[in-house]
């Protein structure tokens, strides 16, 4: 939190702080708190972004922009939900921003892997995977999976999903409605 700790040694006590406390400290321009947030969240954010964009340099820039945005506008965090979810929201939009002005978006995008069953041994996740919804989702074509992932799981708008996937907005909409139909048929 904004409170001043007077130790000469720079890294004091941040490890014990919750993410929310760290963001509050960042609101008070605490550079050490930002560093702690960075150390905690940079790896998984980078990894998750790398699953959506194969260009590591773009991912790194997007992650850097994410934390720069956190530093400059920490009041965007309103204290509701998880800090990690808020960070992801910024990160995925930062990536979009990186992708938007470039021509060869498609080349840079790694399409979602569509080799089910190769790693079916993940027991912990088996419940989800083998649930009705999971099975139905796995049966969608990669195109449709990508649209569902971008809109439902990543929480992007139609236009943002279109930018991320490098397809027109109309296509996102039509694929989404096709996915909805297929899921409904599989589940009913």
């Amino acid at each position: 939190m904004g409170e001043v700790h007077d130790g000469w040694s720079p890294e004091e006590g941040y490890a014990a702080w919750s993410d929310a406390q760290l963001v509050d400290a960042v609101k008070a321009s605490d550079r050490g708190a930002l560093r702690e947030l960075f150390v905690r969240h940079e790896p998984w954010l980078a990894t998750r972004l790398a699953r959506r964009c194969a260009d590591r340099a773009l991912v790194d820039t997007a992650v850097q922009d994410t934390f720069l945005a956190v530093w400059r506008k920490p009041q965007g965090w309103r204290g509701e939900g998880d800090v990690a979810a808020w960070l992801w929201g910024i990160a995925v939009r930062s990536l979009l921003h990186q992708l938007r002005p470039r021509a060869n978006v498609l080349e840079r995008l790694r399409t979602l892997r569509s080799h089910p069953a190769t790693s079916a041994e993940e027991e912990v996740l088996a419940r989800v995977e083998h649930s009705d919804v999971g099975v139905a989702f796995a049966h969608l074509s990669p195109d449709l999976q990508a649209v569902v992932q971008a809109t439902v799981l990543d929480g992007l708008t139609t236009r943002e999903a279109a930018a991320l996937l490098g397809i027109p907005s109309g296509t996102v909409k039509s694929r989404m409605s096709r996915a909805r139909t297929e899921l409904r048929e599989a589940l009913l």
Binding site: D19, R31, L34, R35, F38, V39, R40, H41, E42, P43, W44, A46, T47, R48, A50, R51, R56, D60, V63, Q64, F67, L68, W71, D82, A84, A85, W88, R110, L112, R113, S114, H115, P116, A117, T118, S119, A120, E121, E122, E123, V124, L125, V128, E129, G134, F137, A138, Q145, Q149, L153
Partner: protein, 268 residues
Amino acid sequence: MTQTWHADEETLRAWADGSAAPVPAASLEAHLLRCDECRRRVATLAPSASGSDVVRRWDALADRIDRPRSNPLLRLGLATPGLRTAWLASVLLLLTLPVVVSVLDLRLPVFMALAPVAPLAAVALTYGRHAEPAGELALATPTAGLRVVAARAALVAISAVPVGVGVALLLGLPTPVAFGWLLPGAALASLVALAGTTRLDPLVVAASLGSLWAVVVSWPAASRRLPADVVTHLVASAPSQLTALVVALAAIALTIARRDAVAYRRTA
């Protein structure tokens, strides 16, 4: 938030290297948003997330965070409220004065009386005790004294003078009026700068000089002894302007000669 389950290492690794199937991957991603334990483990697994890599990327980020947002000249000249007030006051005065004069169609040489006060006030305020951000510490630096004061006064002049002249011309004030205040203003400002090398308080000197000038210029017209135009033309006339120039140059030369004595007003 309490978690009922944690992803095993295989699952995390498959997700991190991109080989996980879409459904487990999606499930794990949703889980990661609220499980700091699993996030921590991703950090130890991710191929590019070794400690030194994180340090390097943090350094790159820190480099952007620590970049100062304003340039050195502005920091020198406009950093503190005192300096900003001086700058803003003189620019505003020179911006509004011609407007007031032409809108009210004043007969009095108000513009001539007040415009030179702007640079004078600005110079006086740069001597203020609260004007120096680093306080006494600044006195022991090579730039201390006249150089800092001159830089600040110049910054005000650079922005205020074109505004004053420009607006006056734009509103159709006569050219001699629009330009005629510059040298008297410079003379008054230089006298204040000179006062800064003595034990006198520049603010008091500025206030006295400013009032004196305003009264001398506007009184004859106000008391109807002379028409306003005559006073204005008298100020704008070659001999007056030359006198102002001489006073300004002499005061500047004296200030430079006495630059060792330039001091910020301190209570100490």
